[in-house]
Amino acid sequence: MTSTRFAIETTSLTKAFGRQRAVDGVDLAVPHGSVYGFLGPNGSGKTSTIRMLLGLTSATSGEARVLGGSMPDNLRDVLPRVGALVEGPAFYPFLSGRANLMRLDSGDRAAPAATRRVRVDAALDRVGLGHAATKKAHAYSLGMKQRLGLAAALLMPRDLLVLDEPSNGLDPQGTREVRSLIRSLADEGTTVFVSSHLLSEVEQMCTHIGVMSAGRLLTQGTLDDLRALGAHRVRLLTPDPDAARDVLTRLGLTPEARAGHHDTPATAGGAVSVEADLAVEGLSPESIVAALVAADVRVRGFEVAGASLEDRFVDLTGEGFDVAG
């Protein structure tokens, strides 16, 4: 097993079910120590990818390396270092929360039996289930089951956590707790690979992001990379729109008057709004202002509006509420 820069690395990973390609040539690169948000609408292939990463299914073609080991060939060495929540929690309804974790832990040959009870209770406490440890799992609410699933992933110290939709079924308070749990795990050096269809959630806790749609990985990178990819716009408020447009054009931008926009063209004091996509690489907003002032354009207002990540997400996946077929 060789160490690589990436905790998860896939090459042209593909999974076909009959003629349909659930996962189609995905090249994931999840750096060590990152919190990687694996984003995509329902049915975009996130869970199918995760199943291959964990050796539950075999890839139709392509390769997956997890913690340096090729999957599924090295799963005996890799999986003890990985905690996972796959497609929702699942438990023996007739066993208590604690008994469920004890059973799972007893399956892990690397988990010392002597500390089993202590580790199980610590994991239960960490997800806030200490008080419900002896309750039968069938009496757990969906949110409690989700927490129990997270606890199962935390029974042993892990290098990588693969969490499929971890805040499904949680109330807002629970969602916040999961976010802070993930952050604290990341602070301890654990790489976290977390799938979600909720951009807002990923945006709040991830350092890296990958966007899936219809089985393909559309883009991946740091959160900042992805934000920067979005079309930023400069918006200028000035009584001298023509001169301003000249300056912007000289800088390589394509200004538009945004006619028809509800709060343009005229605003108080005769200032007009001029907007342009910030489409020139290396052109900083402050240098635009400097150029405007140098050309005696009266600048009454200037802002750079980043396209929200949500706009980017919708741009990329473009699917709204439709489940990808």
């Binding site: 820069r5 075999s58 270092r81 796959v86 023996y92 399956g107 290098d159």
Partner: protein
Amino acid sequence: MSPAEPVGRDAADTRRDDRTRRGLGLALLGSEVAVLFRRVRTIALLAALALIPVLLAVAVRVTADQSSDGRGPAFLGDITQNGLFVSLTALTVAVPLFLPLTVGVVAGDTIAGEASLGTLRYLLVTPVGRVRLLLVKFAGAALFCLAATLVVVVVGAISGAALFPVGPVTLLSGQTVGVGDYAARLLLMALYVTMSLLGLSAIGLFFSTLTSVPVGAMAATIVLSTVAQIVDALPQLDALDPWLFTHHWLGFGDFLRAPISWDAFGSNALLQAGYVVVFGALAVGRFTTKDVLS
């Protein structure tokens, strides 16, 4: 893409050594047995089996003055003379139908039950190796066979002793043996019946790897045990008989001879081992290459 420096990788590599050092993995077997035998369904199955000798004994006791005219299961008429025959009669009744029924439920549930609960995927990512899981599941099913058989024999002995006189037993070969000798023979019969059910357990285990609907695997297992007994009973299909896993099921009468005849035991052991190997291999072949989507 600007990948972060591999934070804490060195620490991770040293920790890995601890976590890949494996124990024997017997803890999972312990857990499997505990989960199996603490489950209400398993207890209900065993309780139903316990009812067989109790019903037998009570029915014979209540109607003690009527002759059974030689009808009914083997040894039924002997019960009134000696309560120790209750175990034997109960086994004869339980072996063709009730025992395979309960074994089919347990063996058919092994993998499919975990799959339907969704716990299978969590066991596999723990990771429990797929072959190890099959071994543990088969061991659990085999232990259930033993428990089920012992329940019939022990409850039979207790209810027989409670309702009827107990004394030395006359064997099929004519000799008379004491209660202690007979008890040992009963135990051997229980082990023989347990062994007889191992082939069926392996078949159930294999069926269980084919589906995530446990009821389907259970039904298929039970149906197959019935079909095998029907084929066994048809004179036209005699040629198949030595190959049927049910063929020696009622051969435990051999333990009531002195000296004990081990012929049926030997051929049955060979036959059951063959079924375990074949269906075990099929289960391994199927399960180790299966995409777990449940």
